[in-house]
């Protein structure tokens, strides 16, 4: 099912949570809504579900205008941030709930068989008669997913699906959700504030800030070509240097890179730690090393440029560097954004 949001606006009290958002999600696509808290991502998800109504604009499911359809008739599967499992029902009863209350009457045997299938799908065979309080967080998460899938939703919506879990469980569940998605091919929209989660899992990432979409694209597109300093910073660690653009070149702390097509003026240069390197000869940014942090997969070097700016970059484990060394920080690549 294709979903289309058309100039959607939502205001709470006086706070404008979502400002004129238009978005299309293709049938079978797995899309992440990524943004810091307060960016309106959960509100968008809840409007798609029908748990909130848009103040302005329209939401289409396929050819149907779903804007005013209440949640119970919208045919979406929603996985809540804290799962919202019914605490007085067993795991199996939770999963069966949607089938039992459905207008379509089903045989008990058919419901039981479907519950067994879903328990197998989410790898919880044998836990059907436990209560939610008796299973782990990761297991609850999977029960919530099975419960949402039980009603054969046209669209699957997940609100911070892994937010409340440990890092290890999170990584496992991420892979597993991706597998389930390829198996079922159901249009899926999920909300996260964790850029790694969005990039690992999604076909397409929609980045939000203050209720507006600032950039969208495949993980590769948004990572390789961030269109703004916000996206650059939000997607990962970055060094920031004050820069000056003159005649198609940006100059920062003694380094210079090509920036074709930018107007002259003040700017900022962004470079990820992996975009920088250390060399004893110029050209580059003259700097001295203040500290070396050893890590399992390499060495993180902290340095201070002659201009006083702090820089962080990674070198390979074999590289002999130590605090007090002088040299040059070289730029492999960088992004320059004009100061507004």
């Amino acid at each position: 099912m294709k979903i289309r949001l058309d100039h959607v606006v939502k205001t709470f009290e006086t706070f404008r949570a979502v400002k004129d958002v238009s978005l299309e999600i293709e049938s079978g696509e797995l899309v992440a809504l990524l943004g810091p808290s307060g960016s309106g991502k959960t509100t968008i998800l809840r409007m798609v579900a029908g748990l909130e109504y848009a103040d302005q604009g329209h939401i289409h499911f396929g050819d149907q205008d779903a804007t005013d359809i209440p949640v119970r008739d919208r045919g979406v599967g929603f996985v809540f941030q804290h799962y919202a499992l019914f605490p007085h029902m067993t795991v199996a009863e939770n999963i069966a709930f949607g089938m039992k209350v459905s207008k379509v009457k089903r045989e008990k045997a058919a419901i039981d068989a479907r519950v067994a299938d879903l328990l197998r799908l989410v790898r919880l065979e044998g836990l059907g008669d436990r209560f939610p309080a008796q299973i782990s967080g990761g297991q609850r998460q999977r029960v919530a997913l099975a419960r949402a899938l039980a009603v054969d939703p046209k669209v699957l919506l997940l609100d911070e699906p892994f937010g409340a879990l440990d890092a290890n469980v999170r990584r496992d569940l991420r892979r597993w959700l991706r597998e389930i998605h390829s198996e079922l091919g159901i249009t899926t929209l999920f909300v996260t504030h964790d850029q790694e989660e969005a990039l690992d899992l999604a076909d397409r990432v929609v980045i939000l800030k203050d209720g507006q979409i600032v950039q969208q694209g495949t993980p590769e597109e948004v990572c390789r070509d961030p269109k703004s300093s916000f996206v650059m910073k939000f997607l990962g660690d970055a060094n920031v240097l004050a820069a000056e653009v003159r005649d198609g070149k940006a100059y920062a702390s003694g380094a210079a890179i090509e920036v074709s097509g930018m107007a002259d003026g003040k700017a900022e240069l962004y470079a990820r730690p992996a975009d920088l390197d250390w060399s004893l000869q110029g050209p580059g940014i003259p700097a001295s090393i203040t500290r070396v942090l050893d890590r399992a997969d390499g060495r993180r070097v902290l340095a201070t440029a002659e201009t006083g700016e702090h820089l962080e970059f990674d070198v390979e484990p074999e590289r002999l560097v130590k605090a007090g060394d002088g040299g040059f920080v070289t730029l492999r690549r960088a992004k320059v954004f004009a100061l507004a």
Binding site: V9, S37, A133
Partner: protein, 299 residues
């Protein structure tokens, strides 16, 4: 984008306008008939025979004596029960000991015991047929059919009021603050007055207000132990009964109007204290803890 924002919310369970109006209507009618009407009729009946009769009743020596006795009972029973409530809450929430659950049950017993049963029970302790009665009689000490009996019976009926407000709150607040204060060298009393008390003052006051209302209004237990001697052991509620059965309805309602006024003030005080957060923490017995689903707002 020029259309004004329409604040529409998706319907929650029970939000259909017809159902909603119907339910509100039924509830309001029942509240008006069952709760509001009795309050109104007290005022109406109190002044049925005119302002003069009302004033005569209120200023009659027997009525004044009944008021004095009611106030006296409250002045003794409420502070004693407050001290007990604080001691019980401190012992139960700040320490672990055997039999704590049992002690909690025993403290709550007066809530489920009929006031008549309480009165009869006191008869068998301090009455002439009772355990201590003959001994007390020898020394000429009169407890039953006298003021001490009235006060004791009131204490029984209201014993749990303060403790019940404090225990769940102090349980929820834990022991960290007190332990920190003690580790910094504060004495026990100092810790209580400067650390514990500021955190429980509203709940404490809430319990005191409710306790006071019940002491002043207690009827069943007091009527057993008081002996109903006009002008001597009649509290205000007993005085009302006496007047009522003497066919002085207007007088009974006039006296009742004083107690009704106290009840209204109690409720106003209760609402004001609830604004300060009192009465919000409830015992786990009446509040299921939904372990798997603690409500948290989404971003």
């Amino acid at each position: 984008m020029s259309t004004p924002a329409t604040r529409r919310k998706p319907p929650r369970v029970g939000d259909q306008p017809l159902f909603r109006r119907l339910l509100i209507g039924i509830v309001l009618v029942l509240v008006a008939f069952l709760i509001l009407a009795p309050l109104i009729i007290i005022g109406v009946e109190a002044f049925a025979k005119g302002w003069q009769v009302y004033r005569d009743t209120i200023t009659h020596p027997d009525t004044r004596h009944a008021i004095m006795l009611t106030v006296l009972a409250a002045l003794v029973a409420v502070p004693v029960n407050t001290a007990f409530g604080i001691a019980a809450a401190w012992a139960i929430t700040k320490f672990d000991f055997r039999g704590k659950r049992f002690l909690l049950v025993v403290i709550e017993i007066p809530f489920s015991v009929s006031p008549i049963v309480a009165g009869v029970a006191y008869l068998f302790v301090y009455g002439l047929q009772g355990v201590f009665g003959p001994m007390l009689d020898e020394y000429g000490i009169k407890i039953l059919f006298a003021i001490p009996g009235i006060i004791l019976a009131s204490m029984f009926v209201t014993a749990p009021f303060v403790a019940r407000e404090l225990i769940p709150l102090m349980q929820a607040q834990g022991r960290d603050l007190e332990e920190a204060a003690t580790s910094l060298g504060a004495s026990g009393w100092r810790t209580f007055f400067s650390v514990t008390l500021p955190n429980i003052k509203w709940a404490l006051l809430y319990g005191v207000v409710l306790c006071n209302a019940r002491v002043m209004g207690e009827f069943g237990a007091v009527s057993v132990v008081s002996g109903n001697i006009r002008g001597q052991t009649n509290t205000l509620p007993l005085h009302i009964e006496l007047l009522y059965h003497d066919y002085q309805a207007a007088g009974a309602f006039a006296s009742a109007s004083i107690l009704a006024l106290i009840a209204v003030f109690t409720i106003i005080a209760k609402v004001a204290l609830e604004r300060q957060g009192a009465g919000r923490v409830h015992s786990p017995a009446t509040r299921p803890s939904l372990v798997a689903n603690t409500a948290e707002k989404t971003s």
